[in-house]
Amino acid sequence: MSSVENLTGHGTAVHIDTEHGHHEEHHHHETFITKYVFSQDHKMIAKQFLITGMIWAIIGGLFSVLFRLQLGYPEETFPWLEDLLGHWAKGGKLDPEFYYALVTMHGTILVFFVLTAGLSGTFSNFLIPLQVGARDMASPFLNMLSYWFFFLSSVIMFSSLFVQTGPASGGWTIYPPLSAIGEASSGSKIGMDLWLVSMAMFIVSALLGGLNYISTILNLRTKGMSMTRLPLTIWAFFFTAVLGVLSFPVLLSGAILLLFDRNLGTSFYLSDLVVNGKILPNEGGSAILFQHLFWFLGHPEVYIILLPAMGMSSEILSTNSRKPIFGYMAMVASLFAIAILAFLVWAHHMFVTGLNPMLGGFFVLLTLLIAVPSAIKVFNWLTTLWRGNIRFTPAMLFAIGFVSLFISGGLTGIFLGNSALDIHLHDTYFVIAHFHIVMGVASFFGMFAGVYHWYPKMYGRYLNNTLGYIHFWITIIGAYLIFWPMHYEGLAGMPRRYYDFSSWESFKMFGGLNQFISFVSIIVFLAQLLFVFNFFHSIWKGRKVTSTNPWGSNTLEWTTPVNPGHGNWPGEIPEVHRGAYDYGKDGKEFIPQDVPVGADESHH
């Protein structure tokens, strides 16, 4: 990280910005602590989010490998598991309790710590000031706090892995009453409290970040950068932040009530319970109430994960097709529509909880409506690619892979959105396949696309392309090999969260398939380690970036020096004269946003 900072950073950043004051000579005050640890520079905070997210991704991915070992090879024992996990894997076989803990933590880690903080935390921080033309976030201090709350939350969640009774194990949705009663399972003891406290810290972090993103986008755009000239990345981050700011507090309410139920004897979610033959005194609560509060966040959360990937893919597809994005306004409008609908569909997660079927009908309708903006986006991505002058960089491949996964995962969403079909499909592997493809892997592809594309801006070096291509092909083929077969298992009724299918006559036939899935998932996991190696190796040893605009891109981040200092532009912030997608216009390959409109230019 340190060796690349001296290319242009120190030399030019001491420029005095006469108009804006306060900015001169800031490099002189930087120490190791203020630059790398308690940094207020949005670019450094972005890298902190990214690297923390990567560590979490390795942990969360490893967990899935561990429980896939159990699912694929239920008869086998792995003595090394006992060395690794101690009493959680006696005799080399996962303890059933710990299996649930692994599934729960896999979900929690991937959904929140990797695909929320690691994805939107990284790229909102990195790209918003650079692409709207601001020196930093509206409040760099709150931005720093946002990372450190995330760090604190990470420490608490990580420590929960090491407590005697194990981490939370009631599923990532932590439905009460299971999660509310310590006697109910070992994962509902201290691990659950740590989960809730950690998530409370996480919510604070997400809110501080979101506030900053919104006010930076709305208030700190450079001269000429009207909202309709914003790159689609920024629009996506904007809607992501709005979703987060409006939905996370509701989860916080739900979590607070759950903490009270657990520790202070209230009965918000609890009623008429008998645990281990003991009648609990709790009266008058409702477990469904928690589900409403949870999914009011939980559903927008999947768009919090997905929208940044959509925005970055749009940008990368257009740049590397050397074509304007097809239907810019339609892209913005469909993002907006998705953001609105995100708040109106939460109950489709609750079709089989006794929801009024009449009410279910409305939620079916609203859910299926999401197909409309989604289809608009897919159409526009494909038409952007259509007859483009495509450069197949690793970033571009991942962006195309994102579109592919979004289509295949989105189609199964139409199945699941029907409350009638859901009676059969709910809680089966069909659901697992659907959301892993459309939300998990697709967003991961968006994130990889972003890392490969903006890595030169982050570190002033390129990632290794060959490793990038290997990473891409193994991951895309592997992802389909893992999740495609799960659709069949799900249609056959194979339920999720089961520890061992070999004792069920009806699911025995899937033994070989499960083994195959587990085998592929191990290979895909190893391929991700290749990416991690590529990432860290390239920070110090990667090929150096020599031009400021290596991809021939239009957006403002490529007008900064190769290694921008704190404040981003050594001189004045460039003025914007056009939208972000003037590719292949008037015979020019690309026209960056800061180029004034020429007299001979066609329609503008």
Binding site: L257, L264, G265, T266, G284, G285
Partner: protein, 195 residues
């Protein structure tokens, strides 16, 4: 310290700025806090429509607390007016009064809860009281947050290192303070009308 790396973002847009970014951030934050209370109050409504709901009485001392927080809003308003007119001595006194009134509000509410608890209306007694404790308690926590900010602001006046006559932090503070005031009035009416 970290402040050495201050990046001045103001004035880098060509447009007429309507609002300071910090103030804008606060407004979005207020939206976010509102969503939290919306979550709690809608959970409350859902629960109230189910069987076994028991009604409750608010402690009388809450009315006094309401008066106190209303007066504190007034003193906050006057403090802002005085710093704008560079009446630093008066500003200081008014800020301190607001702070003390804020503390008084929290103490009065605590007193109310102690009374309830002594009457056997504890946190665990019924769901309605659980909600009362949590909703009112979370609001009080937001007031405490405001008081802490006021204390910091008050101490900064006496800092010899830097003199600051900028009204912006005070504007942000006063917006937040009026917000917790209005939020309390809303919660009070909510708890009175739907119980």
């Amino acid at each position: 310290m970290m402040a050495a790396l201050k990046i001045d973002n103001s004035g880098n847009t060509g447009r007429q700025r309507k609002m300071h970014p910090h103030k804008f951030t606060l407004w979005i934050g207020i939206g976010s806090i509102l969503m939290m209370f919306a979550g709690l109050t809608s959970a409350y409504i859902v629960k109230r429509n189910q069987a076994s709901w028991t009604s409750f009485e608010l402690p009388k001392v809450f009315w006094l607390a309401t008066g106190v927080i209303l007066v504190s809003s007034l003193t906050m308003f006057l403090a802002l007016r005085n710093i704008r007119q560079r009446q630093m001595a008066r500003y200081r006194i008014l800020l301190m009064t607001t702070m003390l009134l804020g503390i008084a509000f929290v103490l009065l509410q605590t007193f109310g809860f102690v009374q309830l608890w002594k009457n056997g209306q504890t946190l665990q007694s019924t769901v309605s009281y659980s909600f009362l404790y949590i909703i009112v308690g979370l609001h009080a926590l937001h007031v405490v947050g405001g008081v802490v900010a006021l204390v910091v602001m008050f101490l900064k006046i006496f800092s010899t290192r830097q003199r600051n006559y900028s009204a912006v932090p005070v504007e942000v503070m006063s917006t937040y303070w009026h917000f917790v005031d209005v939020l309390w009035i809303y919660l009070l009416l909510f708890l009175l009308m739907i119980k």
